[in-house]
């Protein structure tokens, strides 16, 4: 039985590769609906495979009951949008579909109770990075977009069959590893006793404010001024840590060097972007080719 399910995995990968190869932009578009049909079949097969492989599994995931509906919903949106990103012939629409990928995976993070990551994704990816992409798309759009010869590179994909084969070969390998639940899921680490909420609160957050605190600070004239700290939410459970609090503790306690290096990388890329933007382009080359 398990071998057949393994074959189902490979068949689904081949179907996915075929559907993607059919959907990628070509000079002579074939029959429109075969690609999406095959892709839906591949996805449905994969999910059926997952549901079947769960029969022997029988472990509790610990996620909220009912979240499986949202998993299928958000995964479906993410995958369909990802296919639209790589098959759409107009770059602006591809960027907009990528926003859908980001939003759907933020939904997946909410299912996984990673609220901080979900909102960071929406703000940084959907807000900052995508706006940069849209600006560059507008800056670098051809003024003579009417002639089709200059736009041909948008309409035709290079090596769609070979690329799909390579990508879905990788997918088949990845899936056959991640569906080997005996080695992946069974090795779930036991909860570290130093990593529980109670231990973390006791070791680092023993005197975190649970109600609004009044303090006095000196103003510019040297007179003490009363300052009231913002009150925590009224339904705060003092024995539990929020997702953002846990990530903050882990980031600053376990990875201080990585944090400093991330700051250096951001600074270097800031300087590098300015240097690249100020680079002079030789006029004769631009005139010769443009």
């Amino acid at each position: 039985m398990e071998q057949y399910l393994e074959y189902a995995l490979y068949i689904a990968s081949v179907l996915g590769a075929l559907s993607l190869a059919l959907m990628l932009p070509k000079e002579r578009p074939g029959i429109r609906f075969i690609g999406p049909l095959l892709g839906t079949a591949a996805m449905g097969g994969l999910w059926l495979f997952l549901a079947c492989s769960g029969i022997w599994d029988g472990r509790e995931s610990g996620l909220a009951s009912g979240s499986f509906i949202y998993y299928y919903l958000f995964s479906g949106i993410a995958i369909v949008s990802a296919v639209k990103v790589i098959t759409h012939t107009r770059p602006v629409y591809a960027a907009l579909w990528f926003v859908m990928v980001v939003l759907a995976s933020s939904g997946l993070f909410l299912i996984l109770s990673a609220q901080f990551m979900a909102f960071a994704m929406v703000i940084i990816y959907g807000g900052a990075i995508l706006v940069t992409y849209m600006f560059v798309l507008m800056l670098a759009s051809q003024s003579t977009s009417s002639d089709h010869a200059s736009q041909a590179y948008e309409k035709v994909a290079t090596e769609p069959i070979m690329a799909s084969a390579a990508g879905f070969l990788l997918l088949a390998v990845l899936l056959s590893i991640s569906f080997d639940y005996h080695s992946v899921d069974a090795a779930r680490a036991p909860l570290d006793p130093a990593n529980t909420d109670a231990a973390l609160i006791e070791s680092t957050l023993a005197n975190r404010p649970l109600k609004a605190v009044k303090t006095f600070v000196n103003n510019a004239a040297g007179e003490p001024v009363e300052v009231i700290s913002p009150a925590p939410p009224p339904n705060l459970d003092p024995t539990r840590l929020a997702n953002a609090e846990r990530i903050g503790l882990d980031l600053f306690q376990s990875h201080p060097l990585g944090l400093e290096l991330a700051g250096v990388i951001l600074l270097v890329s800031l300087v590098g972007a300015i240097v690249i933007a100020k680079t002079k382009v030789p006029d004769e080359q631009h005139a010769a080719s443009g």
Binding site: D57, M117, N243
Partner: protein, 107 residues
């Protein structure tokens, strides 16, 4: 199919979504010729990796996976700034975003 099987989510569910996003990004990077879309596809590969990291973090009850997502975000932001600056520079030289224009590079 029993209902209990259908409505239980396992780690494999999320790993599958992450793997599919990564592979779609890879195929897009190889096939598309627009430089901006190519970099958009690398961002999609990042998305796949991030979904995988957060899923591992949740199922192993270890916050380090989510901390690494912050670093992934940092690298993605730095990469977007530098890569898009380069793309604008290349566009100013040749007047097109076609990556095959640059296939004859020498020295």
């Amino acid at each position: 199919m029993p209902e209990t099987v259908m409505n239980s989510l396992t780690l494999s569910h999320f790993l599958m979504t992450g793997a599919i996003l990564f592979c779609l990004g890879l195929v897009g990077f190889i096939t598309r010729r627009n430089l901006i879309i190519m970099f958009l596809c690398t961002e999609m590969m990042f998305q796949g990796v991030v979904v995988t990291l957060v899923a591992f973090s949740r199922f192993h009850l270890n916050d380090t996976g989510q901390t690494f997502v912050i670093f992934v975000l940092t690298i993605a932001a730095a990469e977007a700034a530098l890569a898009l600056g380069l793309v604008v520079l290349l566009f100013r030289r040749k007047g097109t975003l076609d990556s095959l224009v640059w296939s004859q590079l020498s020295g």
